[in-house]
């Protein structure tokens, strides 16, 4: 029996450490550090980890009393509401634990229930405190490792030596450890993740304070012994870290050894396995359980109750806590926007080599230019931004004169180097308050990073010559904007990276705007033309978090460095989140703050206040629970305040010029659309149909729910599923109010088109498909069509074999258009790839789409102004050609003036715009841009 009791006592000594370890491991699953978040595993580990604290001595919380406990509970609730998962669990456990103590303190629960509730409350509180400490440490760790994963010397050499103890032929050089195997030499990254992974850091960050605290608060007679044991544990843990890394390397090589000759090498996955990392915590748990003092003192057991004389002391300490936490929160989250500038944006176009122009802005994405290069082009985003800013291009070397007339300078993927004088000019530009947007690309493709880095290094930033991939799914790198984003991201919810590089921000002052998680990188493969490596796992890849966008301040100006130029290309810039990102970045740079970054002094103030809190609390043995809750309150209040200030400082942008917005419905339509520019290519995909809208100068956006209805045209591509009555009414209201709706469908049993069309007196026959040649009322090309649906009602405008397959119906101030030939316009029948160069037949199909969309957008306006569609198109074509080949503005005017526009509303509009440029309030120089793009001018005019 004695032995049993002894064994139980020993096991109980290990349980809290096991709890700390399980809670540490839970972060890997909850945050999705290396792999996607696994919530079931996370919840299980949190539950088990919390259970580990049930064996600890119960807190009596005599110091707080019911009133202060109630106050603590109330103070913690706002943080529960605000914090995102999995951080929220820490605060939730705090609130629950406080509730438990409050119950036992305020109510008589009986001899059986009261101790149980008290024990449970104590366990929840301890778990919450452990989680809060771990959460803070891991957040800091992530921010540091995202900047640079590399271990400083001599740690790589140390790890190499340790590897030798495991009979591994290893050598260190720089930040790599070369490991020998027959298959290959593995240049394993000597990284922080290898030496001190997040799980181990979580364990240490919670266990070391516990050990130190228990030694600090030990009875004087045993204090020396406690300190001694704590010291031994710390030494053993320090020894364990390199041994653990050596063990990991040995396990890795064993996996390499066991991989079949022809099988792909996937051994790197070991380093990302949360279960393996969790398993390796067994050693620290055993060390702590074996060596730590048996009676570890955690919490405020046995403290004296509060008396009146200490009440003022309590208030001062509480204030210090709230202000200290608030100051640090502000220091971390707040990047003051400052005052808005004039919005003069200059895009640098001199440094693309003439023979290797990459992502140019000046060649229109129109109805005549097809192929790969047409997609890798910034014309559309430039055009889009020109509706919000005064956009200009510069095609000569940068100098002070050029930059004086500019608020934001965009340097994008240069393919030739900047001269030293240009770099100095950029530096001076930023120093005196300019905003600089640097856009790089993966792997130094076309030497873009090499040429961009001399500029980036001025601000402590370096573009790595790498590619960043998702760990779980290689080509999935989706960034979800967090709960307290940088102001540049506050109107962007999420977007997909194509393939970015990463930023080395070791020496940079500033903050990460985009810090991707669960990523891995590969360095450039100089064998391939674009240096893009084969996306296979390799020992030299770094993994974890990476900085993909960085914000820095320099002088009075500011810099944003972004790492994936591709996402702003024509072929994907209007996928969700990307155009918002560009506008957010420009808007952030279009502000100037004279106060500089407050981060340093805010953090310093916060640390000082918290240090004072500790001092006061230790001297007076104050109510720690209450202080903790007040800290949470300060954090929550600060987060909300920073969010509101950011929104107030940078409000959503409103276009300064008329633009046609085509909203693609995703409420009841889930047809395949492009992702990172890659179209579906199947009969179910409409990625090309969507993208071709851009060729007409319209701007697309995928919308869902209410946000669908703030565009000019709503497009439903093969709607299906259940349409709610509310949605039907909203659609009707939208059209009634002047919106236009285009439904493109084909015979399908699950179509929802008729649910939308009934209200407008239109219907589509979904049972009997018709095949034949599509003929229209106008001079659109005739194209062969199969699997079309007949349309009833409205004014037909297209027929197959004499049967209407498309119709228009005016409704209120708007109109509804329905086209039953969806199959004709799906990706599989539109060339399968957006890089397609059409033959005559395919060009005719495109022409029908163009004509249809133009008609949908412009028919009302053209009838207003009495100009035929064909005439407008001729004008537009000529104007675009004129713009493509720079020519005197007078020629554009001549085209316009000599046309049938004279005397028409459009003519008057043009005259007004050209003769008497309007000056929008926020963008007085926008008209300079207008005068350089006649096609936009025409579109703008038609839109009024």
């Amino acid at each position: 029996m004695k032995r049993l009791v002894r064994n139980v006592t020993i096991v109980r000594g290990y349980l809290p450490w096991l709890g700390v370890a399980l809670l540490s491991a839970s972060w890997l699953f909850g945050l999705g550090w290396f792999r996607s978040a696994q919530w079931a595993n996370w919840a299980t580990l949190v539950f088990l980890g919390t259970s580990g604290f049930l064996a600890t001595p119960t807190m009596t919380a005599r110091r707080e009393g019911p009133a202060l406990l109630g106050l603590a509970l109330a103070a913690s609730l706002p943080a529960v509401m605000i914090a995102p998962w999995p951080y929220r669990i820490a605060i939730l456990l705090f609130a629950l634990g406080t509730s438990g103590l409050l119950l036992t303190s305020a109510m008589h629960l009986g001899r059986v229930v009261a101790p149980a509730v008290s024990r449970l409350g104590t366990a929840l509180l301890l778990a919450s405190l452990v989680l809060i400490v771990q959460g803070l440490m891991l957040t800091w760790y992530e921010s540091q490792t995202a900047r640079s994963h590399e271990l400083p010397a001599p740690l790589p050499q140390l790890l190499s030596t340790v590897a030798g103890w495991f009979r591994i032929d290893a050598a260190a050089h720089g930040s790599s450890i070369a490991l020998h195997s027959m298959r290959q030499t593995h240049l394993l990254g000597a990284t922080w993740e290898l030496l001190l992974d997040p799980a181990t850091l979580g364990f240490l960050s919670a266990s070391i304070p516990i050990l130190v605290w228990s030694a600090w608060t030990a009875p004087p007679s045993r204090r020396r012994s406690f300190w001694g044991r704590t010291f031994v544990i710390l030494v053993l843990l320090a020894v364990w870290l390199p041994l653990r890394a050596g063990l990991l390397m040995a396990i890795y090589l064993n996996e390499v050894l066991r991989t079949d000759y022809d099988a792909p090498l996937l051994a790197m996955r070991l380093f990302w396995s949360p279960w393996l990392l969790c398993g390796l915590l067994a050693v620290p748990v055993i060390l702590c359980g074996f060596c730590a003092p048996r009676q570890v003192s955690i919490g405020s057991k046995g403290a004296a109750p509060i008396t009146g004389s200490t009440r003022s002391h309590l208030v001062v300490t509480a204030l210090c806590v709230v202000l200290g936490v608030s100051a640090i929160t502000w220091g971390v989250l707040w990047d003051p926007a400052g005052a808005r500038k004039a919005g003069r944006v200059v895009v640098e176009e001199y440094h693309p080599l003439p023979e290797k122009v990459w992502e140019p802005t000046n060649k229109p994405y129109d109805t005549t230019w097809y192929g790969h290069q047409a997609g890798y082009n910034y014309y559309c985003i430039y055009d889009y931004c020109s509706h919000f800013y005064d956009m200009q291009r510069t095609s000569r070397p940068l100098d002070d004169a050029t930059l004086d007339a500019c608020d934001v300078l965009v340097l994008k993927v240069p393919t030739r180097p900047y001269a030293n004088a240009e770099i100095e000019a950029v530096k001076r530009f930023v120093e005196r308050g300019g905003g600089l947007l640097l856009i790089g690309e993966h792997t130094d493709v076309y030497h873009t990073s090499e040429f961009l880095n001399p500029v980036a290094r001025l601000f402590g930033i370096e573009y790595r010559h790498d590619c960043v991939f998702g760990i779980d799914a290689v080509f999935e790198d989706r960034f979800e904007v967090g709960f307290a984003p940088h102001p540049a991201l506050q109107y962007c919810r999420a977007f997909d990276f194509a393939t970015s590089c990463s930023l080395d921000c070791r020496g940079a002052a500033g903050r990460a705007v985009i810090q991707g998680r669960a990523l891995k990188n590969l360095m450039a493969d100089y064998h391939s033309d674009n240096y893009y490596p084969q996306p296979v796992d390799s020992a030299d890849m770094r993994y974890g978090s990476f900085v993909q966008m960085w914000a820095a301040r320099f002088g009075r100006g500011r810099v944003l460095a972004f790492t994936d130029s591709t996402i702003f290309s024509n072929f994907c810039v209007f996928e969700p989140g990307k155009s918002e990102l560009m506008l957010g970045a420009l808007e952030w740079l279009n502000h100037e703050s004279r106060m500089g970054s407050p981060r340093g002094w805010l953090n310093g103030l916060g640390v000082a206040l918290l240090a004072m809190t500790c001092l006061l609390s230790c001297r007076a043995q104050g109510p720690v629970l209450l202080y903790s809750a007040l800290g949470l309150l300060g954090w929550a209040a600060s987060v909300v305040a920073v969010q509101q200030i950011n929104r107030a400082a940078m409000r959503p942008l409103v276009a300064q010029r008329r633009m046609v917005r085509m909203h693609i419905d995703r409420t009841i339509c889930d047809c395949g659309l492009s992702k990172n520019g890659f179209v579906d290519g199947t009969l179910e995909g409409f990625g090309i149909f969507e993208r071709w809208m851009l060729r007409l100068g319209y701007f697309t956006s995928r919308r869902k729910g209410e946000s669908l209805f703030d565009g000019d045209v709503v497009v439903f591509l093969r709607p299906h599923g259940n349409v709610t009555g509310e949605f039907e009414r909203r659609v009707a209201d939208y059209v009634q109010g002047g919106g236009k709706m285009l439904i493109v469908d084909s015979p399908r049993p699950d179509s929802a088109s008729n649910q939308l069309l009934t209200a407008f007196g239109l219907s589509i026959d979904l049972r009997e498909p018709v095949n034949g040649v599509l003929r229209t009322m106008a001079d659109w090309p005739s194209i062969p069509v199969s699997d079309a649906a007949k349309v009833a009602g409205g004014e037909p405008f297209a027929w197959i074999n004499g049967q209407p397959v498309a119709a228009k119906k005016s409704f209120g101030r708007g109109a509804v258009f329905v086209l039953g030939c969806a199959t004709r316009f799906c990706d599989a029948n539109m060339g399968r790839s957006s890089d397609v160069i059409p033959d005559k037949q395919l060009q005719d199909v495109f022409e029908v789409q163009f004509a249809l969309l133009r008609w949908v957008v412009e028919t009302q306006q053209s009838s207003d102004i009495g100009v035929s569609k064909e005439r407008i198109r001729q004008l537009e074509t000529r104007a675009i050609e004129d713009c493509r080949e720079p020519s005197p503005w007078s020629r554009c005017l001549a085209i316009i003036d000599s046309s049938a526009l004279v005397g028409t509303p459009l003519g008057r509009q043009v005259a007004r715009l050209t003769d008497r440029p309007e000056a929008p309030e926020a963008h007085p120089t926008t008209n300079q841009r207008r005068s350089k793009n006649p096609s936009q001018l025409l579109r703008a005019a038609r839109g009024r």
């Binding site: 009979r167 032929d169 720089g174 790599s176 070369a178 298959r183 030499t185 079949d260 064998h527 033309d529």
Partner: protein, 524 residues
């Protein structure tokens, strides 16, 4: 193929005779007889002559193969082994890890002491297992593997199903064994791989010891006196462990035991090392493997250098890997190749290489900027930089210049200009104005640069993967885009590299002179 074996043995000072009939004259005066995969019917008297040769103190190395059964039953190996207690089984010794990596268990033996099994240092692949009983004793055992019985119906070399089935021997498969026979000794291998051209170049530390052991008529695997001493020590250790109660003392005892084993192994390893001596033609080429080079040690992977090894052999080089970069080993060599080392060269090694070159050797380094780090100091010593271009002022320009994958002409001065392909090239800059550019990136960025240093030469090729299979030779011999430019290039280039002086080449090293394998013998 075993065609390089005579050169290999001669590099250690031995004389090799290839005997068509094992005549008495051929055997007379020989120290060792090697039978590679005998598959012809034995002629009358041949077996008797072999047994007599061994009984009289000669050594026999019999190398068999897996699943061999002659039409009349049995096999020629077991005919030779008939008077011994060793037999080559009709099976395949299959490994759990390819190449028996981390799977060897060796006897305490002069040939195997201190040789690790991190790589396939013994060279066995899939051969037959051996059946042994005393007085024969296993020499090499495959611990993690199984014996897969042969299948006479199987057209694929009568091999079994390559799976472990119930009843098959699992683990501890004997791969090589030895038996004293008369005054001599017989060593039998179940697999020929260790001695083939492609494998012997890497496992020569073992095979050289094996041949030295065979040629030494006095050598015994374990002298009785040594066994007795070891047994006495073991008994003392057991008694001590039983008597000692203190954990610390036990730990100290274990440390002493471990240290003793380590020291004994190291001493044995050192004592039995044999080194090649320079051949008359100065044709020994070393490929450095002591610095964790970038290439795969599995010869025919894309990143392997099987093609380079064969190219060197085709051009008359005895090609061996270099396990330690020491002056003693380099003494016998004319060419040293380093391919993008990942372990930095120590100052002593750098000095060794410099002296090697100055004495007439050729050092060839292929490395790009992507892997330059560990080689940078060595190349700087030799007056080279990789990755930068030389500015007009002669100083290196800032930044690195990847040139990528392309072909460029060489031999422009000849009647038939040819092109050489680069996998991912980087510029090479040499301090020596007299350096010669073999290939350049147009118009004048040097990629392959040769400079003379002392009596020798240094060649730097700015491309990590230049000599790898993916840039030189496919395993199946198929051309690259219809051409074999780089094979042609090496054929043209190699003869120009080695101009080692005859005096230096003929001078034997001390180590090799001391232990030549097969003494000079009278011609038959």
């Amino acid at each position: 193929m075993y065609g390089m074996l005579p050169s290999f043995l001669e590099s250690y000072g031995a004389t090799t005779v290839i005997s068509p009939d094992l005549s008495a004259d051929d055997l007379r005066g020989a120290d060792a007889l090697v039978l590679f995969f005998p598959n012809e019917p034995w002629q009358a008297g041949q077996l008797d002559r072999i047994w007599h040769f061994v009984r009289e103190g000669g050594a026999l190395l019999l190398v068999g193969e897996h699943t061999v059964r002659e039409s009349e039953g049995g096999n020629r190996f077991n005919d030779v082994l008939e008077p011994t207690t060793m037999r080559v089984r009709f099976d395949s010794a299959m490994f759990a890890v390819g190449g028996w990596l981390q799977s060897y268990e060796t006897a305490w033996h002069a040939t195997a002491a201190g040789i690790s099994d991190n790589e396939n240092d013994f060279g066995v692949v899939i051969g037959a297992s051996l059946a042994t009983r005393p007085p024969a004793r296993p020499l090499i055992v495959g611990r993690w593997g199984w014996a897969d019985p042969g299948d006479e119906e199987n057209q694929a070399a009568m091999m079994g199903n390559s799976r472990y089935d119930a009843g098959e021997r699992l683990g501890d498969v004997v791969l090589a064994a030895e038996q004293p026979f008369g005054r001599g000794k017989i060593i039998a291998f179940g697999d020929t791989s260790s001695f083939s051209n492609g494998i012997n170049l890497a496992c020569h530390p073992f095979t050289s010891r094996l041949f030295a052991y065979l040629a030494d008529r006095e050598a015994q695997p374990r002298p009785l006196w040594r066994d007795l001493i070891a047994m006495a020590f073991a008994a003392a250790m057991v008694i001590a462990m039983a008597a000692i109660r203190s954990p610390l003392m036990l730990a100290a005892l274990a440390l002493i035991l471990g240290g003793g084993v380590y020291v004994g192994t190291a001493a044995s390893h050192q004592a039995n090392e044999v080194l090649p001596r320079s051949g008359a033609g100065g044709n020994l080429a070393y490929i450095d493997v002591s610095h964790l080079e970038a290439f795969s040690r599995e010869s025919w992977r894309e990143d392997g250098i099987g093609g380079l090894q064969l190219t060197l052999m085709r051009n008359g080089f005895l090609t061996l890997t270099l396990p330690q970069l020491t002056a003693e080993r380099l003494d016998g060599a004319s060419l040293l190749i380093s391919i993008a080392a990942a372990r930095p060269f120590s100052p002593q090694e750098r000095e060794t290489i410099r002296q090697f070159v100055e004495r007439g050797g050729t050092f060839l380094c292929t490395v790009g900027r992507d892997r330059i780090g560990p080689s940078e100091a060595l190349l700087a010593d030799l007056g080279f930089r990789v990755g930068t271009v030389q500015s007009s002022t002669g100083s290196p320009a800032s930044g690195f210049v990847p040139l990528g994958h392309f072909k460029t002409p060489y031999r422009q001065d000849s009647q038939s200009p040819a092109a050489v392909r680069f996998h991912a090239a980087w510029p090479v800059v040499c301090d020596d104005p007299a350096a010669h550019f073999v290939a350049v990136f147009p118009p004048n960025v040097p990629l392959i640069v040769i400079r003379n240093l002392g009596q020798g030469r240094v060649v730097v090729i700015g491309d990590t993967c230049f000599a790898m299979n993916k840039n030189l030779e496919h395993e199946d011999g198929s051309p690259f885009e219809g051409m074999r430019e780089n094979a042609d290039f090496w054929r043209w280039f190699l003869p120009q590299l080695v101009q080692r002086s005859a005096a230096t080449a003929a001078e034997p090293t001390r180590a090799t002179a001391a232990r030549s394998i097969i003494p000079q013998r009278s011609e038959p």
